[in-house]
Structures are given as C-alpha cells and as structure tokens.
Symmetry: C2
Subunit: 380 residues, 2 copies
C-alpha cells in the first residue's frame, strides 16, 4: 500500500462554539470561545472508539490528511494517524483539536475579543494544561463522547494526556504520554524564559497588542524558534546532519551564514515567525512551566495518579535532552507507586525530542502494538 493510500485524504476542520463561561486556573473567565477541531474515521455506535490527539507547543488540530489536494504537507502526525497506521482510522474515531490560546482557529490572542471588537492581544488570559483539558472535555461532550478509548500526545501533548487521566478518571481508558515530563526543571523553564524575553522585549511586540499596530514581533519570535529548535534536536543528530559543514566551503570571517547549521536554524526561525502568533508562543511556554499535576496533591504525582483509572503507555527517546528518558522514568515510577498499569518504551533514536514526530521503527512498532490492543478492547 502506498503512502497516499494510507492517508485519511482530504479533511475539513470544524468549529465548536461554546457559550458556557469557562473559569480558568488563573481565575480569569472566558465567557465564550471556539475550539477548532478535525475528526478522522467513524465513531462507532457504542461511542467507545474515540481517540483524542493533544498537540504540543506549535501544533494544532490538523493532525492528518490534507485540507486540499495541493496542500504542501499533510497534518503534523500523518505518519501515525490514518488507515492501517498505528492510530488506525479504520478502527478509531480520531479527534484533533487546537487548544485555547492557539493561533489556528480556536479562540486565542489573535481572535477578536467580542467585548472590544479588537484582537484580545495582551487581554487574553494565561491558560494551563488543566484549562485545556476542561475545554477538551466540553468538546467531548459536544461530540457525544463520554469516554475516550485513548488520549494521546507527545511533549506538551503528553502532559495533557496525563492530566486527562487525573482530572477525568472515568473518561479515559488509556493515556499515551510520549517524550514528556512530570513537570519542568529549572533548566526547562530557563530556556522558555529566554524565548519569552526575546518576544517580550521585541520593540514590535507592543505589550502584546501588535495587531492594532500593524506589526509583528518577528525578530523575537524568530530567536525563540531558533533556540527552541536546538532543544528539539540532539547534539549527535545535529552533528551527523550538519557537523561543521560550511555554507561556502571556506571561512568568510564575517557575520553572515558561515556554517550550514546557522543557515538551517535561521531558515527555521524565519519560516516560523511568518506563520505563528507571538502571543500564542508565550502562552504555550507558560502552560509548560505551570504544568505540575502533583501540585494540588501535596506535591505528589503518586497521590495525583492514585485516583486515575486509565492504563498508561509511556515512551521516551534516548537522545531527547529536552525531556530526557529520566523524566519519563519519573512518570513511570510514580505510576508504579500508584499501582497503575503502565507499558514503558525507551526508544533508541538520534532524533532528540523531535523523535516523537518521527518514524523510528521501534517507536512505530510499540505504538502499533499498544493501540492494536486498545482497538481489540473496543471491539470486544
């Protein structure tokens, strides 16, 4: 079967509008909001085969397929989601959703604030993983899904899967927590703060209200992305791909691109700064910083997990230094201490943190095997 035959094909995003106010962790209230989402596959009669895919920092609802035949790249997890793929749309009804605060259709800082007729900008409240999970639960209600067969995510997405299992124990049968962490370290927060400071101090940021000024804090967002990108790749992987390769074959002794890695990073930064919203970037990094599911359980992740009823799949990647295998092992140990069933896969990969988006064979095989069992449960 060719790659194209395994695609979910052409997909169309949908919008769900909610007018029941949502009180956020910060105390702020969103009076009404829209969540943009996509679905693939068919919800069975028992409504027992639904899977929620949670996105990471720069992700969105467009997980698989294409919006139109000419779309350059398919959804961000097309390698994993589709007919016959590990998250098999012949067997599962898969939902992708853009989170609150996002910039891909769900209500966020660039959306028009009905109270003012202007984009929210700095008036958009800080959102947390818990807030996202509550909003996603309302989307599940809307779709008639009482219980997810699985909630799945990588990185920040994995944090949502973990939080779902704690906050809505009866609504999650399996949580797949990939390349994630139980909470950020000081170093993680430090990288996020440098990225935020790059944006916040960009003169074009205008305290978050740059939309009205007709500007974009492109320089700040570009730096944030360049920095982020370093932490998504492994030292070794970067070395294999770029090493000390020169752009022009010889030293130029100036500040233009000299090494290929500089060219790559600057390109990634430029591309990102044209398409991503700076306020959304800020919010996503704050959601990462705040994530700490054990916090309201006396700081104990074990206690937090004790009320969960989900079964867990946890995966990490050897060369991931943003959320290293050690962090996933912390999660696994807490699950074991809370006497929860957990499968753990530590995958040998040179792809660093980005490996969760890649197709290293042992990773794909582990996902396929686990989800095959989930599908059997659904069918039983």
């Amino acid at each position: 079967m060719s790659q194209s035959e395994q695609s979910v094909g052409i997909v169309t995003p949908e919008d769900a509008f909610f007018d029941t106010p949502l009180t956020l962790n910060s105390g702020a209230v969103l009076e009404h909001y829209t969540l943009r989402f996509e679905t693939y596959g068919t919800l069975n009669a028992a409504k027992s085969n639904a899977i929620l895919i949670c996105h990471a920092l720069s992700g969105h609802h467009h997980v698989a397929g294409r919006h139109h035949p000419d779309e350059k790249a398919p959804g961000w997890w097309d390698s994993m989601v589709g007919p016959g793929k590990p998250i098999d749309t012949n067997r599962f009804f898969v939902v992708g959703v853009n989170n609150l605060g996002g910039c891909h259709g769900s209500t966020g800082p660039s959306s028009v604030n009905p109270a003012t007729g202007q984009p929210y900008g700095s008036a958009f409240p800080v959102v947390t993983v818990c807030d996202w999970v509550r909003a996603q639960a309302r989307l599940a209600d809307r779709l008639g899904i009482d219980t997810w067969a699985a909630v799945i995510g990588g990185s920040l997405g994995g944090m949502q899967a973990l939080q779902w299992s704690i906050d809505f124990p009866s609504r999650v049968r399996h949580a797949l927590v990939i390349a994630s962490a139980p909470k950020l370290t000081a170093q993680n927060i430090a990288f996020n703060d440098v990225a935020r400071q790059a944006i916040l101090t960009d003169p074009q940021f205008h305290n978050g209200n740059f939309y009205q000024e007709g500007t974009i804090p492109r320089r700040g967002l570009r730096l944030a992305r360049m920095l982020g990108h370093i932490t998504y790749l492994s030292d070794d992987g970067m070395g294999e791909k770029f090493g000390r390769m020169l752009r022009s074959g010889e030293y130029k002794y100036g500040f233009d691109v000299e090494f290929e890695i500089e060219s790559y990073l600057r390109y990634q930064g430029d591309k990102f700064s044209d398409r991503f919203d700076a306020n959304t970037y800020l919010l996503m990094t704050k959601a990462l910083d705040y994530f700490d599911p054990g916090q309201r359980f006396d700081g104990s992740l074990v206690k937090a997990l004790q009320q969960a009823t989900a079964k867990y799949f946890v995966a990490s990647f050897t060369s991931d230094w943003r959320f290293s295998p050690e962090r996933s092992r912390e999660i696994v140990k807490a699950m074991l201490s809370a006497k929860k069933p957990v499968c753990y896969a530590e995958i040998d990969s040179t792809h660093g943190h980005d490996a969760f988006l890649m197709t290293d064979a042992p990773y794909v095989a582990a996902m396929r095997a686990y989800l095959n069992n989930v599908a059997k449960e659904v069918a039983a």
Copy 2:
C-alpha cells in the same frame, strides 16, 4: 592563612603598544594595537617561571587581586592565582592579558580607530584563537619571556593554551587545557548563532556602529547572556539551586518574573548588558566557532599535536554539557596518539561548565599538584 592574606593585593594594569602590523587569519591587517595586561609575582633571573593565563568569552586581563581596596570583587581567577594558591605567585610570574577584540583595554571594536577618529565598530576585523596567540607571543617578546613555564586557560582560554603548544612549540613547556573542546559541535555553533542573531537583529545595534548613535544593543546582549548562562550551568546544579521555586510563593499567571530561575537569569542578563561590549561578544563567539587546530593539518588534531613539545594537563567536569568530558577525552586521545605526555583529570562536579572557575576540592588539588611539579622544574 586567611583568604585576604592569600591575595596578590592591589594590582595595576599595564598597556603594551605594538606598531608592527599584525596580519590576521582573515587576511585583515591591524596596523597597530594595544594589549592590556597584568602581572603578579616576580620574573626570575632565568625568565623561566612565567605563566600566561588566557581568558574565556567574557574574561579579561584582570585575573587576580584588586585594582583598588574598594573593588567589589577580585580578578576572575583570584581563587586559583595568588601567594600559596595553585598558580602560586610566590613561585611564578603570572601574566593575564585582555585579548584583541576585547572590551577591557586591549584594542577592540569600541576602541578609537586612528584612521577615522571614531570607534572601530563593524570595521574591527574578526579575530581567531591563532591571532590571539600570535599577539600574545609579541607580548611575551616585549616582557622578555622566551618560553612560558605554562600557558593555562579554561573553555575558550583552554583553546588558546592548546593552540600555543601547536603554533609555538618551543615556547611552551606545559599547556593546561581546562573544560575545553578540540572544536565546536554543530550544537555549540547553533547556541552561538542564536546569541549573535539576538545582537545583530537588535534595532539598537546599528550594524555594529552603535557607539556613534549613542545607543547600546542592550536587549540583544541581555538575551545572549541569558542563553549563555544556561549553558554554563548544569541541569542538576540549576535544579538544586532554583528548582521550581517561585518568586512570590504562588503562580501569578503573567509574564513578570514567576520562578526564581527567571529572576536570576534576567538579573545576569541585565548586569552583563550594562558592562560588556556587544561587538566583542560577537567576536568572541566567532573565535570559538572557528577554533579547529587540526584544520590545517588535514583535519587531524593528532598531526597538529605531533610538532608540539609541551606536556599537557587536561581537565573536564562531569556536569559540563557545553564542553562535556567527552570533548576533553577527544583531546586527550589525540595527545596520546601523538605520543605526548598528558595528565587527565575528570572532576566530579555539579557546577557545569562554570566549574572551571569554581573551587571544587579535587579540581583545586589536581591543579595544585600539577603546578607544584611545574614549579619544581623551574627551580631545578
């Protein structure tokens, strides 16, 4: 003996002016230049007890002692250099020098270009580790030092010590290469490039000629330093010191300082941006990127080292991830392949890359032991 008694006391920098043109690796020529330096201890009659201390990215000639009694902090390596200390000024004549391109008194981008009567700014040429070593050799000539008992440096300073032993084999008896690397990896270069881009894209940078504009690219330099600082500390060390400690004890759900680590980093960035020259920062990072002593020996560090006659001391620190022990082991392996005598110390420390400036007991002991033997040679 108290700490103050072990100090070299009040020291006065000196300037050496050179009017013999220096041709740089880039092909550019510095017609004349000044090197600012300090010395501690007494040069013996045989002129055989001189030690050169090479500084790292943000260092300078002020290695030990104080310029005046009220100076807040002593020189940057006061812990290591002084009477009775490992680099014992009772036995050695120690020279600290600010490198070309620096911003602490040696000729650099903020110096007045005699050709224009204006600061060099962007007209100051890119300098390399080889250029620095050649300039330092002229200072040695000026001081009547034919052969250094030792050339010593950490990080970028260690690269200079290594380069000295290759470029001037007969003039170096011992080279001490601490927390260094044989050349940068793609990841190292990537971090440097993000820092440079922060400065280069700061609207106040004015293409390097900000002096005339009466501005400082403070935002860019601050970001560069914040980012650099993360790479100087270890994940564990940062975790022990800051963890997830909150500034005000509770989440504030905003973009002001929330976690202590943010406060620390921003403070470090602010302090640095007030005192360091942005053009110098750019030049120092480029010198790091270009460093590759094996390059003109068919890319072989072993070949480069074959002509060296120095004995080597190499040290690394377990939690240093900027220049990890693995990088020092590469250097050591090349030295052994070139049949050079080398002592290698891999020091257990949580201080990350900054450990080379710290006083972990096994590190100080190793330095003391090695330099004690160097002193005995001198006396013999």
